[in-house]
């Protein structure tokens, strides 16, 4: 009886490796089936851009090798996944999942997406999870929710794209329905645009130095494509400008945009300059009701939120510890009954065999004497079993059953599965 997690995350493997390990929802059942075939009673595969982890119930000794082999195949010849990986067992494995679900193990502390990713992993693996991992993932989601509601770990915007949303959200009453103009086609701008779109912002215009590239992105976002020179006039009508061109100097200058901004009638304009070097001339920020933020500013917002979140780590860790003990209490108790039954059956078999041998050597005994000896052996066995049974049940109630059970199994060679 055990729970094990094997995997890699953003701390142990570079992006290039994590990308190869990432599983789509369609790939999960097949990979899990391969691992379970090596000997485990249940499995859940959690795969995000920052981690690929196999959670396994009662894995046999061959299972870790099966996991590393499966992952190594994605790395290519001559490379082993195990050098990037980690294994945690039992309480540590439970604690690990709870920390993951709470966002304590995330690259951006407390980020909320992981909660949904844990839920998705559980959904995709449900057919192969088994009862213990079902319970474990169910409780992990509750732990995540509890940490988020009882601590400040999820407050604020702790990444640059989410900081962009937070800053825009402090200018406009609501972001839904606002129009955005995207300048350039940088990855960060695309990520920030995705964050804004998820808040209901409409990307209406995409401008780029090359019209074809602008058209490709505009089609993806349902927007209209423009060249950069056509874009300046639209500073007068959009609410948010997201800039991320690859230009070596500022392209959004006072001269180009001030006339259009002057026609806004005091309506605020939020300009998010995510390019390095910056796309927007700092003087543009001097225009009335223009709010200009560059990548450093957004990172300052994110760092502020992250620093505040760090203050909540001890409280979050306390919740995790409390919930690990609660789960372990349940898990330990779950195993006591079948192991005790197995223990009793094993000793009962020994008693029956020894009784039969003894009685064979004493054929002269009367039926009454034979019954007395059988009664004696039964009573002796019950006496021997009483104290271990009581101690195990008490330990299970206190959440300490697993250690005693493990000792019992090792001492008496109880190898049979306990059905959990």
């Amino acid at each position: 009886m055990s729970i094990t997690v094997l995997g890699v995350n953003h701390r142990t493997a570079p992006l290039e490796v994590r990308e190869r390990f990432a599983h789509t929802a369609g790939e999960v059942p097949q990979s899990l089936a391969r691992v379970l075939a090596a000997g485990a009673r249940g499995g859940v595969l959690l795969s995000t851009c920052n981690r690929t982890e196999f959670y396994l119930a009662e894995p046999e000794d061959a299972v870790p090798e099966a996991v590393w082999t499966l992952l190594s195949e994605r790395l290519g010849v001559g490379r082993s996944a195990s050098e990037y990986g980690y294994i945690q067992r039992d309480r540590d494995a439970v604690r690990h999942l709870y920390r993951v679900s709470a966002g304590l193990d995330s690259m951006i502390l407390g980020e909320p997406q992981i909660q949904g990713q844990v839920r998705d992993a559980w959904d995709v693996s449900k057919a192969q999870a088994g009862p213990v991992l079902h319970r474990l993932f169910q409780s992990a989601l509750l732990v995540g929710a509890r940490v988020r509601s009882e601590t400040g770990l999820a407050t604020g915007a702790a990444s640059a794209p989410s900081a962009a949303v937070a800053v825009a959200g402090k200018i406009f009453t609501q972001l839904a329905g606002r129009s955005a103009l995207i300048l350039g086609a940088g990855d960060i701008a695309e990520l920030a645009a995705t964050c804004l779109v998820s808040e209901g912002v409409r990307v209406t215009l995409v401008a780029n130095r090359t019209y074809e590239r602008a058209k490709a992105i505009a089609e993806e976002l349902g927007a209209r494509a423009l060249t950069l020179d056509e874009a300046w006039d639209h500073f007068g009508d959009c609410d948010i400008v997201l800039s991320s061109t690859a230009a070596p100097h500022a392209v959004v200058t006072w001269d180009r945009v001030a006339p259009a901004i002057g026609r806004r009638g005091g309506r605020p304009l939020c300009i998010l300059d995510l390019a390095v070097p910056r796309d927007v001339e700092p003087a543009v920020a001097q225009l009335e009701n223009v709010f200009l933020y560059d990548l450093d500013d957004l990172q300052a917002v994110a760092a502020h939120a992250a620093a505040e979140r760090r203050d909540d780590i001890p409280a979050a860790e306390r919740i995790v510890t409390e919930e690990v003990e609660r789960f372990w209490g349940w898990y330990g108790g779950l195993a006591v009954v079948p192991v005790l039954r197995e223990f009793r059956e094993r000793l009962e078999a020994v008693r029956a065999a020894e009784l039969e041998r003894t009685l064979r050597r004493l054929p002269h005994l009367s039926a009454e004497d034979r019954a007395q000896i059988e009664y004696f052996s039964q009573a002796l066995l019950n006496k021997f079993l009483h104290q271990p049974t009581v101690a195990l049940k008490e330990a299970a109630r206190a959440g300490r059953g697993y250690g005693l059970l493990d000792a019992l199994k090792r001492l008496f060679g109880l190898e049979r599965r306990d059905g959990t």
């Binding site: 400040g152 604020g156 800053v167 959200g169 402090k170 200018i171 406009f172 009453t173 009638g265 005091g266 309506r267 605020p268 920020a285 009335e288 009701n289 709010f291 933020y293 500013d297 300052a300 917002v301 502020h304």
Partner: protein, 263 residues
């Protein structure tokens, strides 16, 4: 009864103020239920007390009525605009005004009062409601300017995090002015009605102050609605208006000191 209900309201408003200010001291923000529930409980107690102060004779009952409207606006701002930061101003103001009213003495003058007809009471109530709306416009404008400054200067501290978005503050300012102006207009008209139709003598100071409030509020609404001022300019206009009304009141009050009359 009047004293007790005011004392209870004072305690609850003070608690509501502490709840609003707590996040600025680095403490965890209070649940929204508490941010709304505590001042509402205060308003209930306060309302019971204010009902006993009719016909609002003297400075203390008028201050108490003003405090009640400010507390009501605090709750309304949080409920409709999620602008708990309004309580940064209204909380201490309402608490302070009740405290001041208690210090001055809330018990109405026992001597019979001429001119305290229902119309007169309505005139006082509506005028004070208009004044409270002008105060709310001032508060929204002040919050706007603080948030504007934080956003322009890229200071991502407590003002940035705890104050509402600029646009919402601008809307709150706009709404208070647009609703406040007809309210003050009605208050002024009722005042004239009480004076000319009711034949009640009214001090020149009251007329001057009432007309000034109406003109100033009218100007603030005019620049917003007719000249389409918004944002920072409109915020400055609201602050200037409220400051003018307050300063003129203080100046007039200095000429006729005493707590028997509001003016």
């Amino acid at each position: 009864m009047v004293f007790t209900t005011h004392l209870v309201a004072l305690g609850l408003y003070a608690l509501a103020t502490v709840l609003v200010l707590a996040p600025f001291a680095g403490l965890r923000p209070a649940p929204r239920g508490l941010l709304l529930g505590v001042p509402i409980a205060g308003i209930v107690a306060h309302g019971l007390g204010v009902a006993r102060l009719i016909p609002f004779m003297g400075v203390a009952p008028t201050l108490s009525l003003l405090a009640l409207f400010l507390a009501l606006f605090q709750v309304a701002s949080e409920a409709a605009f999620r602008a708990s930061a309004v309580g940064v101003f209204t909380g201490p103001l309402a608490t302070g005004l009740i405290g001041l009213a208690l210090l001055i003495g809330l018990v109405p003058d026992a001597s019979p009062v001429v001119g305290r007809s229902p119309w007169s009471i309505l005139h006082i109530t509506i005028s004070i409601l208009g004044l409270a709306m002008l105060a709310l416009a001032f508060i929204a404008a002040a919050l706007y300017l603080l948030q504007f400054r934080a956003l322009k200067a890229k200071r991502f501290g407590q003002v940035f995090r705890l104050f509402p978005p600029l646009e919402r503050l601008d809307q709150l300012n706009h709404l208070s002015l647009v609703v406040g102006f007809p309210t003050v207009t009605l208050g002024v008209l009722l005042g004239f009605g009480v004076r000319y139709a009711g034949g009640v003598s009214v001090d020149a100071a009251q007329v001057v102050w009432g007309m000034l409030m109406w003109l100033v509020l009218g100007w603030a609404v005019g620049v917003r609605v007719v000249r389409h001022w918004a944002g920072r300019r409109a915020a400055f206009a609201s602050i200037a208006s409220f400051a003018a009304v307050l300063l003129v009141y203080l100046a007039l009050k200095l000429t006729t000191p005493g707590t028997e009359r509001f003016l």
